[in-house]
């Protein structure tokens, strides 16, 4: 006896339809799965057998062959448990309602027959929505499934509940309404929360970074609170847009991360340790899973102790910083993983950490410092728009700068920044700004790339100030966030003893 139902499996970031065919034939009891299943899928035999036994269904005591089509991509997840089980129940007449051609089954079975959630639910829901199919999924995944609007779906807690509903005929599908409007984010005062008083320059720096999504570097001796500043930045980031939420949620879901915060609009924040592998950053495996750079899509990627990362890891960072996408080839197939992240990095100026900031303590030689900074200098540093030297712990700041954070709407500024044509920023320059840029060209030998970055930062500042035009003041401020710590990013460090 033969039966088939639809399931799906993750292939990169998207779920692919898998036709699950079951043939229950004569012969000695056996359970065979063909069609490029991997170990997890093969293990489903044991889970399905136990689940049947523990929920009172009969597992056919004959030869059971399962085929997963198409056979051209490896199926790694346990989400095919449910469709295989349903197909067997169909083939052995244990379900009455057989009109299952428009149903997409998704879920792992536990030994006692519970339908459990597993990674990729958003991806499966998006596939079902795209194909116009009805999704049958683990009940516990309801919030995630309901974020995909217009999808007809029904969640079940266990196999017997599913069968009893299906035996009564066509189930009542729930049509999901999609994401609820993200309310205006009640941004708590991150400065207060992190007890950052004073540090006006650092606060302004982070505000600019948050509004413009500029890549940034914080350089300073150990223990001055660089990490804390990045945490403050994370709090300042405006919430994800409606359109971005599912884009990010599907990435999170594909690796099995909690999507609750993402669905509320919280931008991703990833801070891999410097021992992270190349695969961990880029993504990998077969079919490939996204890495940290993709997990930070539309959010912040924080690399603390930047020079400690392997040279190869720093080299692979460059490409996505420019193209916002990672390309992975597997056989004759290419996977494109979005990786539009904002890079925040922090590091010490030299191996001991005190160079230039507390020169009397630093015993590093010119050679040592340059060897330490070499992986950072050049192409990577070129892509970092904002640089800040953090000299003293912020909580030690004098109270002289009593004025607290700049009262601006980062969210509004971000919208304005994204609205501006980055290629036409020059048209917004006022004369005074041109004048200042010419001065910079002459005195500082500004590169073309640095010029455009400076312009883009100045444009963000002008947006924060509510100005259409980019004035000298905006450029002057942008310059203050560019020259700082330049020697550590541009490779001109001299021996502290010499300077």
């Amino acid at each position: 006896m033969y039966a088939s139902v639809w399931g799906c499996a993750l292939d990169g970031l998207s779920a692919q339809l898998v036709k699950v065919e079951v043939d229950v034939g004569r012969g000695l009891p056996a359970f065979e799965v063909v069609g490029l299943p991997n170990r997890t899928v093969k293990e489903s035999r044991d889970r399905i057998r136990s689940a049947f036994r523990n929920t009172g269904f009969q597992f056919p005591p004959t030869r059971v062959t399962v085929n997963l089509a198409p056979a051209d991509f490896p199926k790694t997840s346990s989400t095919l448990d449910l469709p295989i089980a349903v197909a067997i129940l169909l083939a052995t007449d244990q379900i009455n309602w057989t009109d299952l051609g428009d149903c997409l089954f998704w879920g792992e079975l536990s030994l006692d027959g519970q339908i459990q959630s597993c990674r990729g639910i958003i991806n499966a829901a998006l596939l079902a929505g795209k194909e116009g199919m009805s999704l049958i999924y683990p009940k516990s995944d309801r919030p995630a499934v309901e974020s995909v609007s217009g999808l007809s779906a029904q969640g079940f807690a266990d196999l017997s509940e599913l069968v009893s509903v299906f035996n009564q005929g066509k189930p009542k599908w729930r049509i999901s309404k999609g994401l609820r409007k993200v309310g205006v984010f009640q941004i708590p005062d991150p400065w207060q929360q992190l007890k950052i008083s004073g540090g006006l320059l650092a606060k302004r720096f982070l505000t600019v970074a948050a509004a413009g999504r500029h890549n940034l570097a914080l350089v300073g001796p150990p223990g001055v609170g660089k990490t804390m500043l990045v945490q403050a930045l994370k709090e300042l980031l405006p919430p994800l847009r409606q359109a971005e939420i599912l884009e990010v949620a599907r990435i999170y879901s594909a690796v099995g991360l909690e999507v609750k915060a993402v669905l509320k609009g919280e931008p991703p924040f990833r801070a891999p340790h410097h021992t992270v592998t190349l695969t961990g950053l880029l993504g990998g495996g077969l079919p490939p899973k996204p890495g940290e750079m993709t997990l930070a899509h539309k959010g912040l990627l924080f690399l603390d102790e930047l020079p400690e990362f392997s040279r190869k890891a720093l080299a692979v960072l460059r490409e996505p910083l420019e193209s916002k996408v990672i390309r992975l080839s597997r056989g004759n197939k290419c996977y494109y993983f979005p990786s539009d992240f904002q890079l925040a990095c922090a590091f010490n100026p030299c191996p001991c950490g005190f160079h230039r900031f507390q020169p009397e303590k630093c015993r590093c030689t010119y050679r040592e410092i340059n060897a330490y900074l070499r992986p950072v200098i050049g192409p990577l540093a070129d892509r970092i728009h904002l640089r800040l030297a953090v000299a003293r712990p912020l909580w030690e700041e004098q109270a002289s700068s009593r004025r607290e954070a700049f009262p601006v709407s980062i969210e509004a500024a971000r919208a304005e920044v994204e609205n501006r044509d980055q290629a036409r920023l020059e048209s917004r320059l006022v004369q005074e700004g041109r004048h200042f840029l010419r001065l910079l060209f002459k005195e500082e030998q500004l590169s073309a790339r640095a010029y455009y970055q400076l312009l883009s930062v100045a444009s963000t500042i002008s947006a924060l100030e509510g100005s259409e035009l980019i004035s000298g003041e905006h450029l002057g401020e942008a310059w203050q966030y560019r020259w700082q710590a330049a020697e550590y990013l541009e490779g001109a460090v001299e021996d502290a003893a010499l300077s």
Binding site: G198, G199, L200, L201, R204, R356, F357, A389, A391, R392, Q398, S400, S401, R403, F406, V430, Q431, E432, G433, H435, F436, L439, L440, E443, E444, I461, E465, L469, S471, G472, E473, H474, L475, G476, E477, W479, Q480, W483, A485
Partner: protein
């Protein structure tokens, strides 16, 4: 700001067939306001010295419709209209009833014309490179010294003078008087320059309604407004028959100071300038030659040394001279906004007058010694 009814009445009066600049003047002097002119009887009208035919034309004129049309045109083009009774009207024009129009169309900011010493920089449209450079230089130096630069936005010297003034980076003031309507910038290639003038806080001025075409005779007529608004006229490069000489002539008639830059005898492009010098115009080789003529006027003309460093630069240099301070304290310390302080520090830092250490302290920079020079004596060169 919408135009006052008086300004509209004045502007429309000029459009009545048979009312020329002369009769316009007569009518206005006789009646005192445009409103009364429009209400005048035939007899009163003729007593004022205007023709009966013009009165017939006035009576036939559909005032309400024309006023509506003009208001709509102003709104659409973003142009303002003021009469001589408005406080913004350039004060120098008020003293010239014989030549001045009673109303002006403008875009931008006219206030600086109330407060600043104003010098017209004019010259030929077919200028030599040398002349262009000199016009730009004097344009810049004048605004740096706090003087308003006005000109005619024409090709050649006029444009160069405006551009020079704009080089001061928005801290100078320049205004252009056009020979046509403000919605029809002439020459067309100066449209961008006109926008930059507005963006820098300057002004565009015309006595013609925005849609009015730029016709040849009007350009001579606008020269009298340029001369009228200014306290002095600087002729940069003028051949024998140049509109710039006309401007200088209007200036002389109105009792303005007239200056000229000397040029080579062999170059016919300077013949007009040299003749002007021969006739008694003041010869100018440097900025102080101009400024010294206006010492008697109640204007604050800063010396060149002040112009070398801007006011905010001097504030910051003075603060740094006292003790090193940080970028964070600076705005409060010297009373500047955050942006101004950042801009000024960046400028001084790039020019190496100050340096900022890794702790964010602002210290005297490699060229600090020149700072004192700049503060006290002025620069050796610009």
């Amino acid at each position: 700001m919408p135009p006052s009814p008086e300004a509209i009445s004045l502007a429309l009066l000029m459009e009545v067939p048979g009312v020329g600049p002369l009769s316009f003047r007569r009518l206005l002097t006789h009646f005192g306001s445009a409103g009364k002119v429009w209400a005048a009887s035939r007899q009163e009208w003729c007593q004022a010295g205007a023709t009966p035919a013009a009165w017939e034309a006035k009576e036939a004129f559909d005032y309400t419709a024309a006023a509506g049309k003009l208001r709509a045109e102003l709104e659409e083009t973003g142009v303002s209209l003021i009469s001589w009774k408005d406080p913004l009207f350039p004060p120098n024009l008020l003293h010239l009833p014989a030549v001045a129009p009673g109303f002006l169309y403008y875009k931008g900011d006219l206030r600086p014309l109330q407060e600043k010493l104003t010098v017209a920089v004019v010259g030929t449209r077919r200028a030599t490179q040398e002349g262009l450079n000199l016009a730009a230089r004097f344009g810049l130096e004048l605004v740096q010294a706090g003087v308003a630069v006005i000109s005619g936005l024409a090709r050649g010297i006029d444009g160069a003078a405006h551009r020079g003034a704009l080089k001061a980076g928005g801290r100078g003031y320049t205004a252009a008087v056009l020979g046509g309507g403000l919605a029809r910038i002439y020459p067309p290639e100066h449209g961008k320059l006109a926008r930059e003038i507005l963006r820098s806080g300057g002004a565009l001025i015309s006595e013609y309604r925005p849609s009015h075409p730029p016709l040849a005779p009007q350009f001579k007529a606008r020269n009298r407004i340029i001369a009228g608004i200014a306290h002095g006229v600087l002729v940069v490069e003028a051949p024998k028959k140049s509109g710039a000489l006309l401007t200088a002539g209007y200036g002389l008639e109105a009792g303005k100071e007239v200056f000229a830059l000397p040029g080579s005898l062999a170059n016919p492009n300077w013949t007009g300038s040299n003749n002007l010098l021969k006739a008694g115009a003041k010869l100018v080789t440097e900025l102080d030659d101009i400024l010294s003529e206006f010492q008697h006027l109640p204007f604050e003309v800063p010396s060149l040394a002040d112009a070398f460093f801007s006011a905010s630069e001097r504030k910051i240099l003075a603060a740094v001279a006292e003790k090193p301070c940080s970028l964070e304290d600076l705005p409060a310390l010297v009373g500047l906004s955050w942006g101004e302080a950042a801009y000024t520090v960046s400028n001084l830092q790039v020019k190496k007058y100050i340096s900022v250490n890794s702790e964010g302290r602002i210290l005297p920079g490699p060229l600090w010694s020149r700072v004192n020079l700049g503060l006290q004596k002025g620069p050796t060169s610009l």
